[in-house]
Each structure stands twice: as structure tokens, then as C-alpha cells.
């Protein structure tokens, strides 16, 4: 099964349409690398994107260089997936 160790979900708060456009550019630059969980829609809505560990440095640098504020929504996806699998296994045992 695919492993997501170190992959993060970043929440970006775009201030305006210009910043949203920069996020859309990112989608175009790395279509198979950045998975938008909540796509760039409008400034009032956050943008959530899953970034593989291997791309984190580049993507965070891109966001920083364009003044795009972000927070880490999920620090390590695999940790949550492991918890989810364990919860399913426990439920089955019960």
C-alpha cells in the first residue's frame, strides 16, 4: 500500500485573486505532485493541498517566495492513516 510518511497537508490562505492565481500555477507546474484537497476557489476559502515529502521543500519555498501564508493542517499523513488502520483492525477484532 502506498506510503505517505512525511507527506503534509498545507492550508494556504490566499489574500486575493492574484495569490489564488499563483496557487493555480502551482497546480499546473506539479499536477501529479500536489494534490489539492480544497482547490483555489476564492479568497474567502482556504486552500488545502497534500504535498509529498519529496516536494515539501520546493513547495514551501514557492509559497514563501510569493508571500503566501500557510499553516500545516496535517503534519504527517501516514500517522493518521496508521491510526485509521489500527481503529479498523480493532473494530474487526471486537
Amino acid at each position: 500500500q502506498m506510503n505517505f510518511t512525511g507527506d503534509q497537508v498545507l492550508r494556504v490562505l490566499a489574500k486575493n485573486e492574484e495569490q489564488l492565481s499563483l496557487l493555480r500555477d502551482l497546480e499546473g507546474l506539479k499536477p501529479q505532485k500536489v494534490d489539492f484537497w480544497r482547490g483555489p476557489a476564492r479568497p474567502s476559502l482556504p486552500v488545502d493541498m497534500r504535498v509529498p515529502f519529496s516536494e515539501l521543500k520546493d513547495v514551501k519555498a514557492y509559497l514563501g517566495s510569493h508571500g503566501l501564508a500557510y499553516s500545516v493542517m496535517i503534519k504527517d499523513i501516514q500517522v493518521l492513516l496508521d491510526e485509521e488502520r489500527e481503529a479498523m483492525a480493532k473494530s474487526r477484532r471486537l
Binding site: 502506498m2 499536477p31 493542517m73 473494530s91
Partner: protein, 309 residues
Amino acid sequence: ERSTSSFSYASYHTLEEIYSWIDNFVAEHSDIVSKIRIGHSFENRSIVVLKFSTGGPQRRAIWIDTGIHSREWITHATGIWTAKKIVTEYGKDRTLTDLLDAMDIFMEIVTNPDGFAFTHSMNRLWRKNKSTRPGIFCIGVDLNRNWKSGFGGNGSNNNPCSETYRGPSPQSEPEVAAIVDFITSHGNIKALISIHSYSQMLMYPYGHSSEPVPNQKELNDLAKDAAQALYEVHGIQYIYGSISTTLYVASGITVDWAYDNGIKFSFTFELRDTGRYGFLLPASQIIPTAQETWLALRTIMEHTLNHPY
């Protein structure tokens, strides 16, 4: 062991477990529930619909689907809980009883079975179906961009590697075609509710256009009432409005197709994520999510019952 009373509604389940639960559920409630196979997926898995009916041919009906985006596990889990709730509340809840005495409910709990199986076996975060085409490297079509309403417009993608790849043509995907054929041949579906996650929204058409639909006021008022009913359960706030003005422009989507094909009460939910988990909502939140969603669904269903058209 083969009883839905021992099934854990507060846990996520595999496709096999869900299909087994469906069989047990139908057997236990055969007076009110039946199973219909409406087609098969690209990888030849059965596409199954639960029919809740107290009798009568081609009654007015409500359609509910969950899991068209396979990684949105909370939607399947909510669908299962909701199905159980319907049979539990029939005869107790006056609104639901009146509804089922006059109308049918159809529920498709696993709308994208291939994708769902894949989320359990290979890639938990898979969104699309699993269709392949000669000469195309990337697999899968976003089933919520494959409908014949605004197909190919803004908010869908012609790149097969995109998560929002629309597919080669409208209804090219068997999972979508099966629903289209079923609903079209039924001819009396009066409400369609397509359940997604996450981000806490309740929306109505259009997705492909910012033009208000002719019934915009009624749909908006109903969405407001449904969101309020939902809020009163656990205090979770939903925003509501048309898809294009609330979320984003999206073309070729389920509810636009439904509305354009005469189903006035067409809604789509984005269930809760609490702002922290996205598609990985912990199983401990399945039941609270389902409980609050039920009140919103009930509001829409009651309105549909009382406002025939």
C-alpha cells in the same frame, strides 16, 4: 454474526464488509428494503442501490448517493448509518413515516466501488474511478465531472492525470451511466442528494454557471433550513448556496445533471472535517456526522414530500 445489529456503525469498513452488510440489511428488513443491481463498474464490480419502499409502482422518489469520490470515507459511513436510521425510524418518526408511505428512497452507498476498493488496497487517497484507456498513462476519471451537463466546461480538466479529469465524453464511465439509466428510466425521482466531504457545505445547482437557477429562492431557503437543522444537533456550521458561488465553478457534475433533467430538489453536501482532518476524519466522528446530516436530509425529504411538482 450475520446481523446488522453487530455491525459497528462507528467504524470504517471495506467494500466487502459493506456489501455483506447490505445483504444482511436487506434480509433483515425485507418488508421495506430491497437491493437493486443497476450496473457494474469498470472493473466489473456490482453497482448496488438500496430501495426503501412500502409499496406501489414508480412512486415519487428520493435519490441519495455517497462515495462518488472514493477517498471520502465519511460519506459511505454516513450512508450506512442513514440507511439503518431509515428503517429504525419508520413507524416512529411521523415525517419519515409519512414520507415512506407516499414515496420511495433510493440509496447508492458505494457509488465508486473500484475507487473505494483501491483506497483500501493501494492508495487511501484515491479520488477517481479506475478506468483505463489505450495509450493513456494515467488512470481514472473524476466521476463528478463526467455528467452531461456543462460537460467539458470550466472546473473540469481534459488532462487524464488531473484529479478532475472529466473523461473522454459525457457519461463515458459505467458508474455514471448506470445512474443516468436508472434515474431516467425511473422517471419519477423528485429529489437527488449527492453526498461528498469535506468542508461543511450544503449546495444546489449550478456548478457550471454562476447564473441562478429558476428555483434559486426555494432551494436557498430549503438549504438554509436544512443547515439550521444540522447545526442544532452538534453545533456544526455549514455554509450554503449555489455550488459556483459558494465553492467553485465545476462542470459536468451530478447535481447539475439532475436539475437539468427535471429533478428540482438537487443538493450536494460536503460533510464535516472539523478543519483538521480533511479526508481522514477519525472514525469516532462518524456517528456525530451522520446524526447531524440526518436532520438536514430529513428537512430536504420533508420539503420534497410536501411540495409535489
